[in-house]
Amino acid sequence: MKDFKVVGKKVRRVDALGKVTGQARYAADLADPHMLYGAVLRASLSHARVVSIDVSQAVSFPGVEAVLTAADVPGRNRFGTMIPNQRVLADDKVRFRGDGLAVVAARSAREAARALSGIRVQLEPLSAVFSPEEAMKRGAPGIHGKSNIFVHHKVRKGRIADGFRRADVILRRTYTTALIEHAYLEPEAVMARPDGEGGVLVEGCVQNMYTTRRGLSTVLRLPLAKIRVVQTTVGGSFGGKDEVMTVLAARAAMLALRTGRPVQMVNSREESFHESYKRHPYVMEYRIGAKKNGRLTALEVRMVANAGAYATTTPFVVWRSVVQCAGPYVVPHVKADAYGVYTNTVYTGAMRGFGSPQGNFGIELLMDELAGELGMDPLDLRILNGIRTGSRTATGQKLDQPVAFIETLERSARSINWKRRREELDGQPRNARRRKGIGMAASYRGCALGAEGTDAAGAVVSVQTDGSVIVWSGIAEVGQGYYTVIAQITAEVLGVNLADVTVLPYDTAIMSDSGPSVASRSTMLGGTATRRAAGRVRRKMLAEARLILRTKAKSMDLERGWVVSSGGQRRMRIRDLAAACFERGVALFEFGWYKGPDIHWDEQRGRGSPYFTYVYGTNMAEVEVDQETGEVRVLQFVSAHDVGRVVNPQGVLGQIYGGVAMGLGYGLLEEVEEREGRLVTENFDEYLIPTSLDMPQMKAVMVENPDRHGPYGAKSVGEPTTEIAAPAVVNAICHATGQRVRDLPANLERVLLGKKLVRT
């Protein structure tokens, strides 16, 4: 194997300096001498018919330049990926309290806010539904059409009845997960500027530029080419800056085009809580069958996801849940159904994990309960049933790429000394005030989009005449460290220093539509595209170098800023070669494109090969539970992940530590509370996420298992790191107390009293 110079080495993030010195420019930092400030009037009811919106008073408020409603939408007031039913501003109905009714642009933010009070809205209340259970009932008020059930995906394998007939032990369990917020540091913000030729430039913390641009094109009735979306530094996204940013961008763009002036819109934290989509809460019912020896025979699953008011990505989220419902285990007979249901609550959509944290919570708690029932060690049960190279998944896919699942289990177990620790802890007195426990959870995860849609991405690599390099990518940096990864790949291919590579911001004007920056696909797709673009430039450079050096040697290389011969002699500086290429009329500017391998999904039969490759992971946690108060301290945490190939070890560590923190928040603390569709938690004083003091000692185990599809064998790491922390810690709590917690979050009340107490 080739000895890498930059790939696999610890490097500092290419965007670290701006962030730590405060120089990075966020959308709320943008200013323009002529700019106007936008403000939104939101709904006061959860479900209502819009009778009338009268803006005649508001337009004459001081400083006001425009007040717009749905009637002013130039194009079609509907956007969305599969089921486009989201509105920029409410037209026929209000479907949740975050719906916007009107927008104002004024010369100051204060004047804009004041003008909102001059808008007269008449709403006719409709009966509303707040839980999927109510919403699924016959005769429940329909939110978009007659039925509120708008997604049903299934998986079928074998014959479920046979599987249960063969089982010695059958367990039925129900688990639930909570509605949670992405909690990115930077609330949503955009600036929209008219380009003077009928088009518009939108700058903002947009995660998925092409999706947002498509939405704007429909809403503004403008060709895609007339809309340019440029990304500003993103202060965290975690899947959260998609539809909510399209809404914000569309409103700002409408105001900008109407007034002919730049319009900035910035959500406050409270607005962000009320308006932005969340992670779907799930209710999951399981029936699992196993032989006495622990071999799984059958699994039946029914999942219901609360989608809130709009469809957004729910069809895909629910699909991933059902496809991965059996976890990383071989189950011969599977029957799984998952539903997405509308309610009059805040809508839910993409969030790091995308349907997996819910399903993994269910199956991993279930595996522990089954192990308890069988009198087996939970680790042994998982090793016995774990997928290996060549195994068939719940969807019938044969895993032909090397499967490193068992390795993640074994390496985690070694790291935490699982068997011995578990025995030691079993010996603690049952009634001790503080009791420790150790727990685990595991997963497999399909990389990239899979059967969700076309999976392809582009990049441009351009070597300047002084040898410095510019890279543009069609996939965004949203904090995950992607720009550092593609800078490393470019530096590796071109034999230059990392410091010589600059990645310029994501801009729809430059790059072909590369799909969204989601699904842990950046490195695999965008990284490969970058490697291809850089490879093309490299071949051109070497060809010119041979001409200049009058040699036919095939084995020349680019290394550490030099053109070197096979013997390692330095023949010519890369910067001189770059200058020579320019003089000789050779452009060192190349485009690379990578389309992922074809996959196959049969929706009718609920079978197929939904992803072209997978990553595997295991988390183990040791906790101490105060049995009198329900307080949980996480003492140590091991997170082992097969990442394919490590490109930036610091980046992988960052993903693992951050993923664990997010997963522990999901497990122990986080819950957006709603009462009758009204949000109760609207800022971080009540919505608790873990602080640094709540974090345990963490050990990251990087399992390298190069895959033929990713650049240098790299796969994914962003989402898997957050999808199994919650079940690991909850299983550890249950080991400590001997009581099962089956609902999230496992807060003090739930751990102590074993149930969510009704609040009056």
């Binding site: 003091l693 009293l753 609040r759």
Partner: protein, 283 residues
């Protein structure tokens, strides 16, 4: 962008004169940890701010012989770091040390904490068991109100429109006093109490007297548990006495349910914390 009028007097007399003139239209600003978010939320309506930070000595902590006088503008960090507080009224150091985070403790003041009148305050339960007295000034003179009577409901105190809370006088604890402050929150920092218990008593040969108990976050204001305190009065601590006290406080406390916790959990925890604190004395 919001513009705010801020008046920043340099003497207390000037501040009192301004307060006498503007009354509730002038909102005193100490550390700002509650006031600033409140203003952003629109909780105070149209107000100007009276910045107290330029008034000299308003943050001083002084040993007055039998009492410690704490200036209203002393921060939680000032209290925690004060050797005087540590030596004579350690239950207050303990309580103030559990407030928010380093940043919050370095900005938030003891006077501000009292005036915010949150039932979940950490300093108030400790001040209350210490028998502290609030010093309230107006241009007309000085009034004193015991901490236990100071808060009326969340955010509402007995400070009148022309008044300023200028300090708190805290009687020194007797040597050999038994005390604790225990708090339960959902996380290890930046946690507002779900329940807290402050306890102070004199002890002689294992026998408790002058027992005082304050409960945080169980009622609309920090409250006492007089029946439980009375039940411990004159008793020698032992497992039976403790169990009785725990049981009694769980009947005596009438917890509320709110976003931070439930009635059932709080009732249980009031007893757990009391029992824990009392058992700590036996060790």
């Amino acid at each position: 962008m919001r513009t705010l009028e801020v008046l920043a007097p340099e003497t207390l007399e000037e501040a009192l004169a301004l307060k006498a003139h503007h009354g509730t239209a002038l909102l005193p600003l100490a550390g700002g940890t509650d006031v600033i978010p409140g203003i952003r939320r629109g909780a105070y309506g149209a107000v100007a701010l009276l910045d107290l930070s330029r008034i000299p000595d308003l943050n001083r902590i002084v040993d007055d012989g039998t009492e410690i006088r704490i200036g209203a503008l002393a921060t939680h960090a000032d209290v925690v770091e004060s050797a005087i507080v540590g030596a004579h009224i350690p239950v207050l150091s303990e309580a103030c040390g559990t407030v928010g985070s380093v940043q919050i403790r370095s900005r938030g003041t003891i006077g501000g904490n009292l005036c915010h009148a949150s039932p979940a305050s950490d300093s108030v339960p400790a001040l209350r068991v210490l028998g502290s007295v609030c010093e309230i000034r107006s241009s007309k003179g000085t009034r004193e109100i015991p901490v236990g009577d100071f808060c009326i409901s969340p955010g509402v105190t007995r400070v009148l429109p022309a008044d300023l809370l200028v300090g708190i006088r805290v009687p020194k604890m007797r040597p050999g006093s038994r005390w604790f402050y225990l708090k339960l929150g959902q996380r290890r920092a930046m946690a507002i109490a779900k329940v807290s218990v402050a306890f102070l008593a004199a002890e002689d040969g294992g026998v408790l007297s002058d027992v005082r108990i304050s409960l945080g976050a169980v009622a609309p204001t920090v409250c006492g548990a007089p029946r439980t305190a009375a039940c411990l009065e004159g008793k020698k601590l032992g497992e039976t006495v403790i169990s009785e006290a725990v049981e009694m406080i769980q009947t005596e406390a009438k917890p509320i349910a709110d976003i931070r916790s439930t009635e059932e959990y709080r009732r249980e925890m009031v007893g757990v914390l009391l029992g824990r604190g009392l058992r700590g004395f036996l060790e």
